[in-house]
């Protein structure tokens, strides 16, 4: 029997992206630069997070024309973002043929109580998470891939590190719990009991887990890989830097050779100006995108 949109097929595409770099792009030209640099996928957007931050107002799904033009320009998978809870934006992205949908806190949430029911879609979803409970809630809703939230558009890696350490630490803790303590652990983190048991057994999330939000240099990417993530999203870090093509290629090489400090030293040289960035501690609470979603 032939089946489409199965869990294995949805999760499978994320497996194929592992060890790679997914880059935010806003034009077909940027998409080609990303592909040429070795990106394993691109995220099609109208504005990168740093510009969304600067512009203020309501940030929504990109114009379908932008997404279609980017799909035409490259052969690698094209992802696109919908607002948290905006299931119609998700339906539109699925109809356009986007390869993955990011239900993303970078855009202004459309629903303050409920995320999209991702199980009812054929197209796979990726969602952000700051801790294990949040990751497992999204997975049970149907997310076939998880990423850290970090703090998008800042070029400051500190929040991505915090979220990755949090998820990894909670997984290690679960692995050491006796079975009778699992239900209480599930209750405390607000996570489905069956997934808590599965994580304790596997010693990792049951889906691919990427790092995102503030990654700006090859060293940032390699650090996240050494902390145990499966791959890297780079948002503003590439096309807000002085030499996007060169930086993109260096981040790709650093993600592959994340444990080889000689290669990391080599690819970190002469990359031009990094994105200027915003120090997280100067950011007002209301401007923190990671607080969006639950």
């Amino acid at each position: 029997m032939t089946e489409q949109g199965t869990w294995r097929v949805k999760k499978g595409l994320a497996e194929m992206l592992k060890g790679g770099v997914i880059m935010d792009v806003t034009t077909p030209e940027q998409a080609k630069i990303a592909e040429e640099a070795g990106a394993c996928a691109v995220m099609a957007l109208e504005r990168v997070p740093a510009d969304i931050r600067a512009a203020g107002g309501v940030a929504r799904m990109a114009d379908p024309t932008v997404i279609l033009k980017i799909m035409d320009a490259v052969t690698i998978p094209v992802m696109a973002k919908c607002r948290i809870g905006h299931f119609v934006e998700a339906q539109i992205l699925e109809a356009l043929g986007a390869d993955y949908i990011d239900e993303s806190e970078v855009l202004t949430p459309a629903d303050e109580n409920f995320h999209v029911d991702k199980n009812s879609f054929k197209v796979p979803f990726v969602c952000g998470a700051r801790n294990l409970g949040e990751a497992l809630r999204r997975i049970r809703e149907g997310a076939a891939m998880i990423r850290t939230k970090g703090e998008p558009g800042t070029g400051d890696v500190v929040e991505a590190v915090r979220h990755m350490r949090m998820v990894m630490g909670e997984i290690r803790r679960l692995q050491n719990l006796p079975r009778e303590e699992m239900m209480t652990a599930a209750k405390e983190m607000g996570a489905p009991y069956d997934l808590v048991l599965e994580v304790a057994e596997l010693g990792r999330l049951p889906v691919v887990n990427f790092a995102a939000g503030g990654i700006a240099t090859p060293a940032d990417a390699a650090m996240m890989m050494q902390l145990g993530c499966d791959g890297i999203f780079v948002g503003s870090g590439i096309f807000k830097s002085g030499d996007p093509a060169r930086r993109a290629k260096a981040i790709v090489a650093a993600t592959t050779h994340y444990n080889d400090s000689k290669i990391l030293a080599e690819v970190s040289r002469d990359l031009g100006e990094p994105m200027v960035g915003i120090n997280i501690s100067t950011l007002a609470d209301i401007d923190r995108m990671q607080e969006r979603g639950w």
Binding site: M1, T2, E3, Q4, G5, T6, R8, V9, G12, L13, E15, M16, L17, K18, G19, G20, E35, G38, A39, C40, A41, T75, I76, P77, E94, G97, A98, D99, Y100, K122, V123, P124, V252, A253, T255, T256, H257, D260
Partner: protein, 205 residues
């Protein structure tokens, strides 16, 4: 002491860990290949699924392409899945992307459509007996043309999805994402032949 068969798995990008687990469960020692020195003393090589453009560029950048071509020419068994099939093809429709170009086939990329068209299906595979193989196709290619010396082992409709040419095996689907190890075992038969030819004493333990 029995020395296990050593299979290199190209680990530049993609789903290499799934191949590693499958081959370890079949009694092989799996070596992640990221640099040329990792290719020394392997008895077979797997090119995994992932993004073929990404893997091809990294192979060139880290000088693996020519070395792998030489080893394959020398009889080293090579098994490619999905992106691996594309990289092994001599010709790729509408693409001049970097490749190994080992096999006498023409590959068509993303030939079944985008991700929403990805699917799994039961496949009749030559040499695997009557039980069908549950094959997972993800933005998969197929083999548009098979040239001299290439045997077709499985097709979806009229589209070739598994083929073999001497020491080379290429699948458009992902046997590493299932629990069925029969396609990997086909590859290991080639590895055993290679070891016998080279008079190397190593075993699948």
């Amino acid at each position: 002491m029995v020395i296990p068969v050593r299979i290199g798995i190209l680990a530049l990008q993609g789903a290499f860990i799934e191949h590693e687990k499958m081959l370890s469960s079949l009694g092989c020692e799996a070596i992640q290949v990221r640099k040329t020195e990792h290719l020394a003393d392997i008895d077979g090589l797997v090119i995994p699924g992932g993004e073929s453009t990404t893997i091809g560029k990294l192979m060139n950048e880290f000088k693996l392409t020519d070395r792998i071509r030489d080893l394959a020419g020398d009889g080293l068994p090579v098994f490619g899945t999905c992106a691996g099939l594309i990289l092994m093809a001599r010709e790729i429709v509408d693409s001049d992307q970097p490749r190994l170009g080992l096999m006498n086939i023409v590959a068509h990329r993303n030939a079944f459509g985008r991700q929403v068209d990805s699917f799994e299906t039961n496949l009749e595979v030559e040499g695997l007996g009557p039980d069908r193989f549950r094959a997972v196709f993800i933005r998969a290619p197929y083999i548009e043309t098979v040239r001299n010396g290439v045997d077709v082992l499985a097709s979806v409709g009229d589209k070739v999805v598994l083929a073999k040419e001497k020491n080379l095996l290429a699948a458009a689907f992902h046997p590493e994402l299932t629990d069925d190890s029969r396609v990997h075992s086909l590859f290991l038969k080639e590895v055993e032949k290679f070891l016998a030819n080279k008079k190397k004493i190593r075993a699948i333990v």
